[in-house]
């Protein structure tokens, strides 16, 4: 049985230009290592491939039980020119939460 990011963490998306940043924050610090191992930039890149050209970078924030994913070329050219309804990509955190990870057992 797989587990979703949603089951272990919460997330928020922010925008700057054509780049989206999405935090992934563990509810429980003990899940941080698992997320670090499984929620790789490659896996995130794959989940966003129909939305963002990438690249995707991941920054660890262990103190905050969190990671910051920075996804380039994700916002239709940027807030000011994007044709999207959600020009800021605020809803993109939900793509992150829906990513399935392999079961730990």
């Amino acid at each position: 049985m797989s587990i979703r990011v949603y089951d272990l963490a919460h997330a928020r998306a922010g925008d700057k230009g054509n780049t989206s940043n999405i935090s992934v924050i563990c509810y429980d610090a003990k899940d941080w290592d698992f997320i670090e191992r499984e929620l790789t930039p490659q896996r995130v890149s794959e989940a966003f491939k129909h939305i963002a050209k990438g690249p995707v970078k991941r920054y660890p924030l262990r103190n905050l039980k969190a990671f910051n994913f920075v996804i380039e070329n994700a916002l239709g050219g940027g807030v000011t020119i994007s044709l999207a309804q959600d020009i800021h990509g605020k809803s993109l955190s939900n793509v992150m939460l829906a990513i399935e990870l392999p079961d730990r057992t």
């Binding site: 925008d15 230009g17 935090s23 924030l61 050219g77 044709l83 959600d86």
Partner: protein, 481 residues
């Protein structure tokens, strides 16, 4: 009204501040200063933010400062256009309503106001502010104005500057440039506070700097005292989106509950001279403020968390520790910073054609197939008329408009078809909505509820870095101190 007086104390600090008509400004029981704490409230995090929570802070938040951050990326461009039509305008249109609401409470409770609502015309905004104050019977209220963020005349002569987004020279967008504004820092806002004016109004200033400035002013923090500047910047970043740290943009039914979300309050920072920070929120308001809400906001819009560039410092949040002290109070520790860079980020706004949009709905059997067919018909009509688009998009709202991938989604019962395109040609932009609406009469069966054709001007923004020594940030005072 002519008995308004501002007494400047030793060291250029306001001693008794404004005294008039029984209103004493800067003393009285309100505020936290008597306890060695300066309390800085967040009154707005965008130009469209709610207003009443700011009044709640001013009335019963026990704050010393109220900061209104009201400039989105392209707001200054838009206001520059307003100013070109009417030289008295160009400040944030929400200034009147916001100040009318909070000024009486702020003056009564000695709350100083800091805001970037000056937008493209801070002096005009200051005059409008003074008029609002006079009309409210608050007398002659001086306003310190931060100038120098408008660098359009400087960058015009530097076509070789590289756009941060694509590396092309600034020259490529100069002919269409509407505005160029440097994100000024806390240093000049602090200078404005040093004048003693109860209200400080600026154009473009980096969001966290609006909050850091009152701390520097109150505690005399040196601009190079990095541990304190780091803490103040982190606090500013936590506050700059108001309700985003008090339960807004956060809740999830059954998973992340937020009490009284309809009544969530705005946050403040309690700051001490040593740089210690606790974030809190207006008592008896809805929402929640805890480590989870603070963490989401702390990482929001940050890229490399060791290099968050502001005009004041290079912030590193990787060492930050957030601790729940009591209900709705979170301590912030461990922000670090490296020195600031020697450049300002400059947002260059320019006209970049038009975006046209149209929408129409389909429901029931084969709703998706009919919507897709209609999209093809509209595209064919636009092609036959010779219209060209730099970017074009078809959305199936209810299925794939937010996260794409229509082929992987289950079909919904009903769908709203949306077509949007960006173009230099206004007629081509209008034609999208026109042809989409025509699906009522000329498209696949059973189309309903098309919207009127929509066209909007595109105010695009790109950025350059400008050496700080080319920028003349300064303070002028409207009115008499």
């Amino acid at each position: 009204m002519d008995d308004a007086k501002l007494l400047i104390g030793r060291g250029g600090r306001p001693a008794a501040m404004l005294r008039q008509n029984g209103i004493s400004f800067g003393r009285g029981s309100a505020g936290m200063k008597s306890q060695g704490v300066v309390r800085i409230g967040a009154g707005a995090g965008t130009s469209d933010d709610r207003m009443v929570p700011a009044l709640e802070l001013a009335e019963r938040g026990n704050i010393d400062y109220l900061v209104f951050e009201c400039l989105a990326e392209r707001t200054v461009s838009r206001e520059n256009l307003s100013r070109s039509k009417n030289p008295d305008q160009g400040y944030s249109p929400s200034l009147h309503a916001r100040l009318r609401m909070v000024l009486p409470a702020c003056m009564r409770n000695g709350v100083r106001i800091v805001s970037n609502m000056g937008a493209a015309n801070p002096v005009g905004g200051a005059r409008a502010t003074r008029k609002e104050a006079a009309d409210l019977g608050l007398g002659d209220v001086p306003v310190a104005v931060v100038l120098g963020d408008d660098v359009s005349s400087i960058v015009k002569h530097r076509p070789e500057l590289r756009l941060m987004e694509n590396g092309e020279p600034l020259e490529s967008i100069l002919p269409a440039m509407i505005s160029a504004n440097a994100y000024l820092g806390a240093d000049v806002v602090c200078e404005a506070l040093n004048t003693g004016a109860p209200i400080v109004l600026s154009g473009r200033v980096a969001d966290p700097s609006l909050f850091l400035a009152p701390m520097m002013h109150e505690f005399g923090w040196a601009y190079d005292d990095l541990p304190k500047i780091a803490q103040g910047t982190a606090a500013g970043h936590l506050l700059e989106c108001t309700a985003s740290v008090t339960g807004g943009c956060f809740g999830w039914p059954g998973k992340k509950e937020v009490p009284d979300l309809a009544l969530n309050g705005y946050p403040f920072a309690d700051v001490r001279a040593d740089g210690s920070i606790v974030i809190g929120k207006t008592p008896d308001t809805g929402g929640r403020l805890d480590v989870m809400t603070c963490t989401e906001q702390l990482i929001y819009e940050i890229h490399d968390p060791t290099v968050y560039l502001t005009p004041d410092c290079t912030l590193d949040i990787t060492g930050v520790k957030l601790t729940q002290e009591e209900s709705d109070r979170v301590r912030v520790e461990g922000a670090r910073a490296k020195p600031r860079t020697d450049t300002y980020k400059v947002s260059v706004g320019y006209a970049d054609g038009y975006i046209g949009e149209g929408e129409v709905s389909y429901g029931g059997i084969d709703a998706i197939a009919r919507a897709k067919w209609a999209a093809e018909v509209v595209k064919e009509r636009l092609r036959l008329q010779g219209f060209k688009y730099e970017d074009f998009r078809v959305d199936l709202i209810g299925m794939s408009s937010l996260h794409g991938a229509p082929d992987q989604r289950p079909e919904p019962y009903e769908v709203r078809l949306r077509l949007a395109g960006r173009t230099r040609d206004r007629k081509a932009a209008h034609a999208i909505g026109f042809e989409t609406r025509a699906m009522h009469m000329h498209g696949p069966g059973g189309a309903g509820g098309a919207c009127e054709p929509r066209v909007r001007d595109v105010l695009a923004v790109k950025s350059v870095l400008l050496p700080k020594n080319l920028v003349n940030a300064q303070v002028v005072v409207e009115g008499t101190l």
